[in-house]
């Protein structure tokens, strides 16, 4: 089971690296914020933050020093990635909505404010003990992560639904409409992974030792990778396939 999880996470990391670099290159060319925010979200979370978190766990298991500093860097990098997701959702989907500014600010504050407290607990009690001894801080951070993915997944899905009406009038490309759905699904996969882990921990299970969790993470990681690649690096056959129904209607 763990090999499936590793396979899913590994493929997700490689797909995120490729997609993140492609978005960074696009951001360099266009000088636009959405591309930059999305490339940082993709690269900082899965490519840099998650492996650094695993490094902190490995250091602790090996009895080596530096667990707390590495965990601090890992958490900061991951939270910066998730905060970019908040900024992306605000700037792209709700640019002029005052509530979105408040939601974004609150989300970013909740992401960063617990890091210091959790790291202090980890330096005293180790990673597992530190997390168990700071439930409020952990709940704040996990809530902010879940909130960010719920927000972006729901906004993107809402746009997908309205874009289907635009599609009938030829106001939007079928591939762009489909991209809203793919981004929504990719975000929902991250949300499901975080929810599965959160529920597992609440029930007293160690997610890393659970076969069900490993299977779920592996499968969701694969779906997330597929959605990201089809959304941001779509092969020509996929673009042709998505565009086909529209061509048939227009014929």
């Amino acid at each position: 089971m763990q090999s499936i999880s590793l396979l899913g996470v590994g493929i997700q990391a490689i797909a995120s690296l490729v997609v993140g670099l492609r978005l960074a290159s696009l951001a360099r060319r266009t000088r636009r914020f959405p591309e930059l925010a999305l490339s940082l979200t993709t690269l900082l979370g899965t490519v840099f933050g998650y492996p650094l978190g695993l490094l902190a766990i490995a250091l602790e298991r090996a009895g080596l020093p530096g667990v707390a500093p590495v965990f601090f860097i890992a958490a900061s990098v991951m939270m910066t990635g998730v905060s970019m997701n908040y900024f992306f959702t605000w700037r792209v989907f709700r640019q002029n909505a005052p509530f979105a500014v408040v939601l974004c600010g609150l989300g970013v504050w909740l992401l960063f404010s617990p890091i210091g407290a959790v790291v202090v607990h980890i330096s005293r009690y180790g990673i597992d003990g530190g997390i168990q001894n700071s439930p409020v801080w952990v709940a704040m951070a996990v809530g902010a992560v879940l909130g960010g993915y719920v927000w972006t997944a729901s906004e993107s899905f809402r746009y997908y639904l309205t874009s289907r009406r635009q599609l009938r009038l030829g106001l939007i490309e079928p591939t762009v409409s489909n991209r809203f759905l793919l981004w929504s699904l990719a975000s929902a996969c991250f949300l499901a992974i975080a929810l599965t882990a959160g529920i597992g921990v609440q029930l007293g299970h160690d997610p890393l030792q659970s076969a069900g969790f490993s299977l779920a993470v592996g499968a969701l990681g694969l779906v997330n990778s597929a959605c990201n690649v089809l959304c941001f690096l779509p092969p020509q056959w996929y673009l042709d396939w998505v565009s086909r129904p529209r061509a048939a209607v227009g014929a």
Partner: protein, 103 residues
């Protein structure tokens, strides 16, 4: 005033002046037409508004007993084309178009 608000206001004002609809009715009618097209008043471009005026608005006006809808809508499409450009507004559609490698 944003380009989106400009095209919306332009259509509403024209309907007010050329039909018996009052300000509230004209704005409500255009809002309904935009909603049917899956568009938002705050982000609709002049090009999108032209399509709505051409394809959806005539039906909405006829259902309200307005005569000569074809002529009104034809003039509206023409006048929308002469509105200042929408510029490079970063709508979700344009952002997601770029992100997938649109030229």
């Amino acid at each position: 005033m944003s380009a989106a608000a400009r095209s919306f206001d332009h259509v509403c004002e024209t309907l007010e002046s050329r039909t018996q609809l009052n300000r509230l009715e004209a704005r409500g009618t255009v809002r309904l037409a935009l909603k049917e097209a899956g568009l938002d008043v705050g982000s609709v471009t002049a090009r999108q508004m032209s399509v709505v005026v051409e394809r959806i608005l005539p039906g909405e006006l006829q259902s309200r007993g307005i005569d000569d809808t074809d002529s009104i809508c034809r003039d509206l499409v023409r006048s929308l084309a002469s509105l200042p450009s929408d510029g490079a507004a970063d709508t979700p559609e344009s952002v997601f178009g770029r992100l997938g490698g649109a030229k």
